[in-house]
């Protein structure tokens, strides 16, 4: 693990990503403690106060400190996006591995259905699910997880099939190894790498999707300091105070970039041929 981190830090994308994500992680863990002000504190005199000494990133339509809201909101946005990706990846990995392992007709039947489900675009699927589960952060998380599942199933299956075709797996089969050993020791370590890369890049998607659902009023509900919701609420005041829109937008973009960079960095670092 430390070895992987060392190799990750040696790639330029990886180093930048790790630095950015360390900061984001810090915000997620300690955001509320570090925030300079109470994110809920309403101050009518300070409405639309531009960025300055008092409010570093300005104040919003209710005079709440934008920076503090961003710092507290990190937890809502990033942790739920991570959770959604984790759930979607696990479900997808189970389906994909099962499909690759069963092979033949089962594989074909499972994949045909996965393909058919993928005809529903991610956001539409999330909308559908939220519409029946009801609005709210947790339902949005669940919806994103379900929307990610077929894609992850497809990726897992193709990686697993590629590994299965390798001669070292054939050698294990010919040697008479049990199914558990072949799946867990021969295949899994070689499947996990590409899966982690794919999942990392999907976290960036999840962050954006989650913010989008909140923006549409279907995810986090006011007065939560969720970043997408902050953009949605600030839209009406674009003339008076553009910073209330720009600050959360930049936060979303930086988080997504960080996870995209991490995915690219991991792709390089996980390639065993580079460590010679």
């Amino acid at each position: 693990m430390t070895d992987l981190l060392r190799r990750l830090l040696r790639t330029p994308q990886g180093a930048v990503a790790v630095a950015m994500l360390a900061l984001i992680l810090l915000l997620c863990l300690l955001g509320p403690e570090l925030a300079p002000r109470d994110p809920e504190a309403i101050d009518f005199l300070g409405r639309f106060r531009p960025p300055g000494a008092e409010n570093w990133l300005g104040a919003d339509q209710l005079g709440r400190d934008v920076l503090s809201r961003l710092m507290v909101g990190a937890r809502a946005t990033v942790l739920l996006a991570l959770l959604a990706t984790l759930l979607g990846t696990l479900a997808g990995a189970v389906i994909g591995t099962l499909s690759a392992y069963l092979g033949g007709r089962w594989d074909e039947a499972i994949m045909r259905n996965v393909d058919a489900v993928m005809a529903i675009p991610g956001l539409l699927m999330a909308l559908l699910l939220v519409s029946s589960l009801g609005k709210g952060s947790l339902n949005a998380t669940l919806a994103i997880a379900i929307a990610f599942t077929p894609g992850m199933a497809r990726v897992t299956r193709s990686v697993a099939l590629a590994v299965r075709a390798q001669d070292y797996v054939k050698a294990a089969l010919a040697r008479g190894e049990g199914a558990a050993f072949i799946v867990l020791r021969e295949m899994l370590p070689n499947v996990v790498g590409p899966m982690i890369v794919e999942a990392t890049i999907r976290v960036a998607f999840a962050v954006m999707l989650f913010a989008t659902l909140s923006f549409l009023g279907l995810g986090a509900q006011p007065p939560a300091p969720e970043w997408g919701l902050m953009v949605a609420e600030a839209r009406r005041f674009v003339h008076q105070a553009p910073w209330i829109i720009i600050a959360p937008s930049v936060a979303i973009a930086l988080t997504a970039i960080a996870f995209n960079l991490l995915g690219d960095g991991l792709r390089d670092a996980l390639n065993p041929r580079d460590e010679r």
Binding site: R112, N113, D115, A116, V117, M118, A119, I120, P121, G122, L123, L124, L127, L128, L129, V130, S131, S132, L133, A204, M208, L209, A211, T212, F215, L216, G217, L218, G228, V231, A232, R235, V238, H239, P242, I245, I246, S249, I252, A253, A256, I257, N260, L261
Partner: protein, 315 residues
């Protein structure tokens, strides 16, 4: 490409539509508590609710409800909107036509920008131009549509006041005004796809430029222009068809957001309205129509690919 391949591909579309219909019906009809309550409100009398349930056939077994709904859906009859009392099928189809205009323009703009940009970056691989394009497209794939839309409005509508911020004018009413209102939505939707597709064009082109047959063409002494136009371009752009087809999924997602922000009464906005109002027939109609559009688009892309790429033999 053989007839049996085509037949199988079309059967697959039918199957996809079936699976999607089961999902859409399942998610919207089975999960929420009671359509009758949704329709009449929490304060309705039990008698009124029972009467409505009978009329809607809610007491019937699920498969019968599904079969009735699917039968209607296949003929374009998705039932009446719980919000407006109008038939949702025709309403959604009209909305779809507006969305397709937006999507078509965005797709065209995207292709016009993304392909030259990707090629240019590939030919300047490793130089400043390539790095700048790379960074900008990285930013592009990391920004959600609503952020780009908001930023675009702030810049072009508020600051520069070049274009209207929201609203929709039918093409039949005033072409210039209609296009002016569509400009920012189209720009928003295409920007994200430009970021994604130009990256793909770049990497495909670089792969082709490093291939044996391009090296062979160089060593045969063919002129650079012929190598680029005849040998590189075609092979690099073929896989882009598949990528663009996959991106239609993002495009549809993007359209939902963009229509909402720019107040375009397309299928995406109708869907959001329906979801917010829990208008089940409208949600079902919107979701089905979108998913079928996507399935058809990707099938068309597959067929186009098969026609253009002579290497793949479908049997």
């Amino acid at each position: 490409m053989s007839a049996s391949w085509l037949l199988r591909r079309l059967l697959l579309v039918v199957y996809t539509v079936l699976v999607v219909s089961v999902l859409v019906f399942g998610i919207t009809q089975v999960l929420p508590a009671d359509a009758a309550v949704t329709l009449l409100g929490e304060n309705a009398t039990p008698e009124a609710l029972a009467a409505l349930r009978l009329r809607l056939g809610l007491g019937d077994p699920l498969w019968l409800q599904y079969a009735r709904w699917l039968g209607g859906a296949l003929t374009g009859d998705f039932g009446l909107s719980m919000r407006t009392g109008q038939p949702v099928g025709p309403m959604m189809l009209v909305a779809l036509s507006r969305s397709l205009l937006l999507a078509g323009l965005a797709l065209a703009l995207m292709l016009m920008v993304a392909i030259p940009l990707g090629l240019w970056a590939a030919l300047r691989q490793g130089r400043a131009a390539d790095l700048v394009t790379g960074l900008v497209s990285y930013l592009g794939v990391s920004l959600p549509e609503f952020v780009i839309a908001t930023l675009v409005v702030m810049l072009f509508a508020d600051r520069l006041q070049w274009l209207p911020a929201t609203g929709y004018v039918p093409l039949t009413e005033d072409v210039a005004d209609s296009l002016a209102h569509l400009a920012l939505p189209v720009l928003t939707v295409s920007l994200i796809m430009v970021a994604h597709v130009s990256r793909m064009v770049r990497s495909e082109t670089i792969d082709v430029l490093h291939s044996d047959y391009i090296r062979a063409a160089r060593l045969k002494g063919l002129p650079g222009r012929s190598i680029l136009l005849r040998h590189t371009l075609r092979n690099a752009l073929l896989p882009v068809i598949t990528i663009v087809a996959l991106d239609v999924g993002y495009l549809l997602g993007g359209i939902i957001v963009v229509e909402e922000i720019f107040a375009i009464p397309g299928i995406g906005r109708q869907l959001i309205v329906a979801v917010t109002a829990r208008d089940l027939p409208a949600i079902q109609a919107g979701a089905m129509i979108m998913a079928v559009t996507y399935a058809l688009a990707s099938t068309l892309a597959d067929i186009a690919y098969a026609l253009l790429d002579r290497r793949i033999r479908y049997d």
